[in-house]
Symmetry: C2
Subunit: 361 residues, 2 copies
C-alpha cells in the first residue's frame, strides 16, 4: 500500500474537484483514465524559444527566484505542449543555497557549489533546515502563480531533490563522473553522512509541504544520482532518508520518486511508500514496473528515450506504440529523463498529441 | 552453449598446457579453480607511479604503439598486483585510426576524432578493414612481447572495442553525454549504420585474431557505451554486429563481452555466444549472472565498485565478502568498470591478495 492511502478505501482527500478527476492524478492513484496522461520532464526548458526569451533577460537562478517569470515559463510550456500537468519552474539545488551554501550556474558548465562540505565544521555551519525552507518561499509563490494560471483541471507538480543527490552535490561541489568524494565521505564518515542527510530530509520535506500549501497537488523527488550506488549502499545510505521525506509529505498528495540508472533500485524506490515510481529510459518498462510491485501496488511514470525526439518521427511513434502496449491504469507517460535542449519543440508536442489520441477511450 | 565449444565435450583446444590450467582460463570455461581468479580492468594505468613514469616520456598513443613500452606497462602491473591475467596495453580507438580516421588524445580531455563520420562519403573513404587490421601489427607485437615476459601459467588477454561503441565514437567524434549524433544517425540512416558496423566488425575480428595468433589466450570486447541504448535498439542495431565478431574469433579462445549500464542487455550479451559476460558495478551480481543464463550457461566477470578502492579498506572487504558469497565456478573477480586514477595502488594489490586468500581451497 502506498504512503498516502490514496489507493486505500477511506483515503485522505486534500485535493478538490475537479482537480481530483484530472487524468494525471487519477493515474497517480492507479485509477482508470479517459486517456493516458503525459508530461515531459524539464518541459519548460532551453529547447523552447519562449524559454530562451525569458533567459535572455534573466539568469537561470534569477528566473527560479522570480515567481512571475517562473510561472510564465511553466504555464507557457504546459499550454503549448498540451500536457496533463504543469511542473513548477525551480531547481533542486535551491535547497542547498537556502541552507547556506553559495550556488552558481556557469554559462555552459552547469551548477557549482564553490564551498563544498568536507567535514563536521561545514555541517555545523549549515542553517537550520526549517529556517532554510522558509526562505524558499519564492518557490511556493511560483507554485501559487502557476496554479492561478492553469485550467481548473490541470494539476501543478511541486518538486525537490532527494537527500542522497543533494548530499552528493554538497560534497562534490558540482557535477561528477564517479562521485569519489561523496562515496568516500559516506563510507568513511557514516555518522556525519547520516546527520547531513537528516538535515536535508527535514528541509526537503518542509519545502515540499510549502509547495503543497501553495497549491501543488503532486510532488516529485529527483534522486538524480541514485544510480551511482549499488543496491547495498543505497539501502544503507540513501533509501531511509528518501523514505523519511516521502512519509513526511502531506497526506493525500501523491509522491513521485525518480532517478536515472536506477534499474537495480526500483524495489527500494517503491518501498519508500511513493505513489509513483519514475522509470528511466533503459529500464524495460514492464519489467521495471513489475520490479516495483506492478500496477496493483504503485503507479509508474516513463520512459521514452529523450533522444528519440530529435527524430525521425517514425522512431518516436514506434517507441510510443511499444510503450503504450505495456500501459495499464497507473501509467503516466513521460520521458525516461529530461528533454534535451536540441529537441525540436514540435516533436514534443506531436508526441503529446499522439499519446492522447492513441489512448483515448 | 557457448560459441567456442569450450564448455562442450570434444572442444577445440588451441591453448597449450600449462596455460590451459590457469585459474583465469578454467573460470572462463566454468571449471573449478584452486582460487577465484582476479584481474582489474585498466590495471596498467595512471594510478600507478610506474605507468606515470612511462607516460613522462611517451604520449598515450606513443605508448600504445611502442610494443616494448606497452609490454613493460602490462607486465609491471600484472606482476606488481599479482593478478591472474595480463591484458595487452592498447586502446579501443586504434581500430578507427587504422580505418583512416585521425585520432588525438588531448592532455586532460580524453580522445577526439576531429573528422567524425557524417554520411556515405565518409564511409566510402574508410580503408579496407583487412588492410586496417594488418596495420595494427603493433598491438599483436605488444601481445607477443607481453606473453614472452609472463610466467608460463599466466594468460594474456587481447581486446578490442565492440562495433556499436566504435561506430558511436566515429559518429560523435569523441565522448558524449547523450549520444545524439550516433543515435539519430542509427535511426535515420539504418542502412548506412549497418554498413558501418559491418566494416567495423570485420576489422575488429581480424584485429582480435591477430592478437590471438600472437599469443593472447582470451579476448575481451568492450561495448563501453552499450548502456545508452534501450533493449529494443540494442537488439536491432548493435547485438547482431557484436555477435558476428564473437562468432568470428578463433575457436577455443574464450571471449568476454563487457559494457557499463548494461543491466537490461545482459541476456543479449550472453546470446552473442560469448563465454564470459562482464557485469557492471550497479547490477546485483547474482541477478546479473542469472539474467545471462547463470553459471551453467556462461561465466561472469565483475563487479566491485572501483570507487571502493579509494578506501576505507573495511568497505572493500565487506563488498568483496558479499561478492564472494555469490561466487561459483565460472566467476572471474574484477571491478565493475576500469580502476580509477585516484586509487592508491596498495588497495588494489590488497584486494587481489584478499580474494586469493579468501577463496583458496
Amino acid at each position: 500500500m502506498s504512503r498516502t492511502g490514496i489507493r486505500t478505501v477511506g483515503n485522505v482527500r486534500r485535493i478538490a474537484q475537479p482537480l481530483w478527476d484530472a487524468p494525471f492524478l487519477k493515474a497517480c492513484r492507479g485509477e482508470a483514465v479517459p486517456h493516458a496522461p503525459v508530461w515531459l520532464m524539464r518541459q519548460a526548458g532551453r529547447y523552447m524559444e519562449h524559454y530562451r526569451g525569458l533567459r535572455a533577460r534573466l539568469s537561470f537562478l534569477e528566473l527560479c527566484k522570480d515567481p512571475d517569470a517562473a510561472a510564465e515559463a511553466a504555464l507557457f510550456a504546459r499550454d503549448w505542449l498540451g500536457v496533463d500537468a504543469a511542473i513548477v519552474f525551480s531547481d533542486i539545488l535551491v535547497v542547498l543555497e537556502a541552507l547556506g551554501m553559495p550556488l552558481e550556474f556557469t554559462a555552459g558548465g552547469g551548477p557549482r557549489l564553490p564551498r563544498p562540505l568536507a567535514g563536521v565544521a561545514d555541517l555545523d555551519a549549515l542553517r537550520d533546515p526549517a529556517d532554510a525552507a522558509a526562505d524558499l518561499g519564492y518557490v511556493a509563490e511560483a507554485v501559487r502563480r502557476t496554479v492561478a494560471g492553469l485550467p481548473a483541471t490541470i494539476p501543478c507538480i511541486g518538486f525537490a531533490g532527494a537527500p542522497f543527490t543533494l548530499a552528493a552535490y554538497a560534497i562534490e561541489g558540482g557535477g561528477s563522473r564517479h562521485f569519489l568524494r561523496a562515496k568516500t565521505f559516506m563510507w568513511r564518515e557514516p555518522a556525519l553522512w547520516h546527520r547531513l542527510n537528516g538535515i536535508l530530509a527535514e528541509c526537503i520535506a518542509a519545502h515540499l509541504n510549502q509547495q503543497i500549501a501553495a497549491g501543488a497537488t503532486a510532488v516529485q523527488l529527483f534522486d538524480s544520482w541514485a544510480g551511482c550506488l549499488t543496491a547495498e549502499d543505497y539501502a544503507a545510505f540513501a533509501a531511509p532518508h528518501l523514505a523519511a521525506v516521502v512519509q513526511a509529505v502531506a497526506p493525500g498528495v501523491p509522491v513521485i520518486v525518480f532517478g536515472t540508472g536506477t534499474q537495480h533500485l526500483l524495489p527500494q524506490l517503491a518501498a519508500t511508500g511513493a505513489d509513483v515510481v519514475g522509470i528511466d529510459t533503459t529500464t524495460p518498462f514492464s519489467a521495471g514496473w513489475a520490479a516495483c510491485g506492478g500496477p496493483a501496488r504503485v503507479a509508474a511514470q516513463g520512459n521514452l528515450d529523450p533522444t528519440l525526439l530529435l527524430g525521425p518521427w517514425t522512431a518516436v511513434r514506434e517507441a510510443a506504440d511499444r510503450l503504450l502496449a505495456a500501459t495499464a491504469p497507473g501509467h503516466i507517460v513521460n520521458l525516461g529523463h529530461g528533454i534535451l535542449k536540441e529537441t525540436p519543440p514540435e516533436m514534443a508536442r506531436d508526441l503529446v498529441r499522439y499519446v492522447h489520441e492513441r489512448t483515448a477511450r
